[in-house]
């Protein structure tokens, strides 16, 4: 059992979207993914929608003791299940909860959208998590995931030449995942629709992300979707 946490203080960074993309790809690839959405009061996709190859649990962290108890039960169970993959979808502006989740994770991913403030906060978040874990004596990898960045090269290249973006790219060399989740309408559909199978583009990006994640976690490669 491995745990991947999508964390970050900035709302709209893509924690929920990216965690669903990864869970979808993992389910299609034969892992046993279980997605835990930490705050049910944020954009919560429909529960129990047919077509999701992963279980989706929503916890209400305004009741921390209860949330912790439920999470303990889920972890107990997934630990005993071979091939299980727990994906934690953190909430925005929940520093204290994030600390607890970061300590449970085998890999932390901080999704970063394309706004100047997004970049700044994400870098700060990544450094904060790394510092926290190193303080605990853990070597948990912490990576940034570019999310909702321009997908077309004709748009991406000029964007990369923007001052704040160029600075960010230089500053975060080696700290980013190579997978980039572009602006897909179907990523949003993954969260909204009742049959969230995801279109081929989403599956492809998800698979790329899954391969990179499984490499970082050192888990056996999944079968082709």
């Amino acid at each position: 059992m491995k745990t991947i946490a999508f964390l970050g203080r900035k709302g709209g960074g893509g924690k929920t979207a990216c965690s669903h993309v990864l869970a979808l790809a993992a389910g299609l690839a034969g892992y046993k993914p279980l997605l835990i959405q930490i705050d049910v009061r944020t954009a919560t996709p429909p529960m129990g929608a047919p077509g999701r190859p992963y279980w989706l649990f929503g916890l209400d962290v305004s009741q921390p003791e209860q949330a912790a108890m439920y999470m303990g039960t889920i972890f107990d169970r997934t630990t005993k299940t071979s091939g299980s993959l727990v994906i934690l979808d953190g909430g925005a502006n929940r520093d204290a909860v994030d600390v607890g989740l970061a300590r449970r994770a085998d890999l932390i991913i901080v999704p970063v959208a394309d706004g100047p403030e997004d970049l700044e906060v994400a870098v700060d978040d990544r450094n904060r998590f790394e510092q926290l874990l190193r303080g605990d004596g853990k070597q948990t990898p912490v990576h940034l995931l570019l999310n909702r960045w321009p997908g077309r090269q004709s748009e991406l290249q000029p964007f990369l030449r923007e001052d704040y973006v160029a600075r960010f790219m230089e500053q975060t060399e080696g700290q980013r995942l190579s997978t980039m989740v572009p602006r897909f309408k179907s990523v949003k559909a993954l969260l909204d629709h009742n049959s969230p199978e995801g279109r081929s583009a989403v599956r492809k990006v998800g698979r790329q992300l899954l391969d990179e994640v499984s490499g970082l976690l050192g888990i056996p490669p999944a079968r082709a979707a």
């Binding site: 009061r41 047919p50 999701r52 649990f57 009741q63 209860q66 299940t81 502006n93 909860v97």
Partner: protein, 137 residues
């Protein structure tokens, strides 16, 4: 001859009982194969712990918000309470407008400044109170 369409992917069967168990506690939401096509019940003990009243207020249209200046004793609308509590000046309200545009404009719908102010208040209250405890490991 048409190619047979593959069935929809299903969640891993290993956790079906876990999901079913989680469908029982009142304050937790969970997916379940048995209830796959059914929306969560709003009358049973398995009610989802979403804040329906708050969401409803947030989604209220401007025309539905009671206007100020009526007789004494009338309950104040959340917008009025927010404005009364914070006493925002015009320039501060302009900043809130700016934040509204930056944060929520991309959602593709108009966002009232009062929604943003309430979001900020929510965050402040959470930080102050309930959310200070770390999840137990």
């Amino acid at each position: 001859m048409t190619k047979e369409k593959p069935g929809k992917p299903a969640p891993p069967s290993d956790f079906a009982d876990l999901a079913a168990a989680f469908a029982m506690p009142g304050k937790t939401t969970a997916s379940s194969t048995q209830e796959a096509s059914q929306p969560p019940s709003t009358t049973s003990d398995t009610e989802v712990a979403l804040p329906p009243a708050k969401v409803a207020v947030r989604m209220r249209k401007t025309a539905q918000v009671p206007q100020a200046g009526r007789g004494p004793g009338r309950p104040k609308s959340p917008e009025e309470l927010v404005n009364q509590t914070l006493s925002l000046r015009a320039d501060q309200m302009a900043k809130v407008h700016k934040i509204a545009a930056a944060e929520y404009g991309r959602l593709g719908r108009r966002v009232l400044p009062s929604e943003i102010v309430r979001s900020l208040l929510d965050i402040a209250f959470e930080h102050q109170g309930k959310n200070t405890k770390v999840l137990k490991s």
